[in-house]
Symmetry: C4
Subunit: 206 residues, 4 copies
């Protein structure tokens, strides 16, 4: 298959993002998956089973908005978690799903969600202009039945218009943005804030 | 605009400092800002919204001592926190403001300031010649009203002649020195000592 | 001695693996050893006493299935721990033994083994397809008498068909897989999960 | 001054060691100092005030066994701590003094010394052949009067023939070996073991 310039550009952005994310230790083993929506509505997404810090162009595939393969490659089971976010939010153009230690630990310590407030770094999230903000990152139970998990996420997002990310318990984080770069900014900020909350949780409980 | 050799040299020092500071994880997302005062009293300073670990020459702008743009670029809201330090301390030529995890956690755990004493590394701070020294790094409440925050800092500095740095709660650290290199040395020493205090705080409270 | 292409290829994989493992801090000083089984049943293995992050081709030697040197180089005392795993598991082609901080701490805190369950990252282990799995990584007492230690491992493996790795107390981890790459994936996943368990152990006991 | 080949070789080893040690975060700001004894008994040693991760050949000076400068450069105040070790131990050819976080924290938590036992990594220390060993790393109070501090160290070493390293409280570690490479191995092993002890101290006291 001959890929478009848009696809090749998005694929390179995902490869670079993977190298950065891996340098932080957020995609151990072959975990995680990343995607970017192209101007024509199709989606470039990582195939499963590859180490996300050492992605090659061939490790990125093309799907349509319904998660069907357009190039014969086999998409990951979690692909539908990406496509349902793209359907809900017309302005987003990237979804990143790493498995960071902090997100995993957060999900084991906090029950249904973690509250982030009174941090200057909240301003790294699109649309937030003051540290006097409060956001919730919800935590969902892990489920190998991805359509069922996607439905749970949908129900939450129906009730909460403002949401920057969610955590799947014992698994990892999903976050999104209007470009790969903005999504990386969201990811970097969220992981920093998760780190703060974990460290402060230890102190509070002393 | 055609920039002077002094500006271009200072800009390169800030770019290099940003790469170093980012390698330590102290400027997550697009947080932080850095400046250097030139021999003629004008100031090279990072524009806002860029990742400080990947600065390009175009991401550094020129302002005067009153924080007015001299090259048409738009300065960050926090610029006045830099200019007020330059006005107060005629000998300093650089101000660095990272958002490190340690500074953020310190501000959540200690109330109005953190005391650093009996560390050999205090000698990395300009003018300190023995570990038998005691310095206080004050902590100020965060405020999106930067002139009001700057005024709070001014009042503190009026009363405390010796001060190497201050923390804005839930936000980050400001530190300064007579060159970019000296300020980096102050930053590296302070973050190390914050790390010590955080780790020992956990132990003391066991 | 003139080495085969298979040996040279395996040696390069072990050198690269060592550089990666050292970048994580898992082979401090000259600790650890790594091996790969070649198609003809002989085994490429690191000689002892070298820093595993800076291996040279000359630091890899060739042994037979009984741990006898085939090239005149002197094998490490721990070589028999590699050969006994290769004898037991006909499908594995690599054994990696790092000394990570997490494995060392796990062995000091947990008694006879550590249980890993309900983590998505368990799926990085060969044959596991759901987070609803439970594995045990056994911990054996350290022993300078390696044949005796090997015997202890053998007895455990006789009773437990499914085993991905074991820890030697105060020493390090042994893990294996059907290729160097798969074994690295196991190692990366296990160390991440050990990190989780250590951090959560602290929280649980607060 | 024209330096000998031996000096230039030792200087390069110290530069490389500094880059490695800095990559671990063990020489924050401009802390630490390193030396190597040459075959003729003179000593190559870092000058003070430089960042040890970015040493240049000009940052290494030559002294005699009495700590007198042989090339007109000014030695650090701590030079005598190096020369007294070289006098006592005829077989050692390198002394490394980093300021690691772990050594600093150890000195704040443990009183007069830290005991390391039952670790396989003890075998990284010259002469130790089993994990069933027990070593003590003594801790001395910091003192800006270096001759007085050196005297304290001498008295301790008079009473304890076997000693691999000592900690100066709130300051850092001194360790030594028969080459720069062996001393780095000692340093890497000791910092790993300090890390273990600090982490386990937290657990024990829960």
């Amino acid at each position: 298959m001959k890929y478009s310039e848009d696809f090749l550009d998005a694929a390179q952005q995902l490869i670079d993002a993977g190298r950065f994310i891996d340098s932080k230790g957020w995609v151990p083993a072959t975990s995680g998956n990343f995607s970017a929506r192209l101007p024509d509505g199709t989606i470039a997404i990582t195939v499963s089973g590859k180490h996300k810090g050492r992605l090659q162009p061939d490790d990125i595939m093309l799907i349509d908005a319904e998660a069907n393969s357009l190039d014969g490659k086999k998409p990951s089971a979690e692909t539908v978690l990406h496509t349902s976010l793209y359907k809900r939010f017309p302005d987003i153009h990237s979804v990143l799903h790493p498995h960071s230690l902090n997100a995993t630990l957060i999900s084991r310590i906090f029950k249904s969600g973690v509250v982030l407030e009174d941090y200057e770094l909240l301003k790294a999230l699109c649309g937030i202009t003051t540290h006097e903000s409060r956001i919730v990152v919800p935590i969902f139970s892990n489920d190998q039945n991805i359509p069922r998990l996607a439905e749970l996420v949908e129900q939450y997002l129906d009730r909460h218009a403002i949401c920057y990310a969610y955590i799947i318990a014992g698994h990892g984080l999903y976050t999104w943005g209007n470009s790969v770069q903005e999504t990386l900014r969201h990811l970097e900020a969220l992981d920093f804030l998760f780190d703060c909350e974990l460290r402060l949780h230890g102190v509070k409980n002393e």
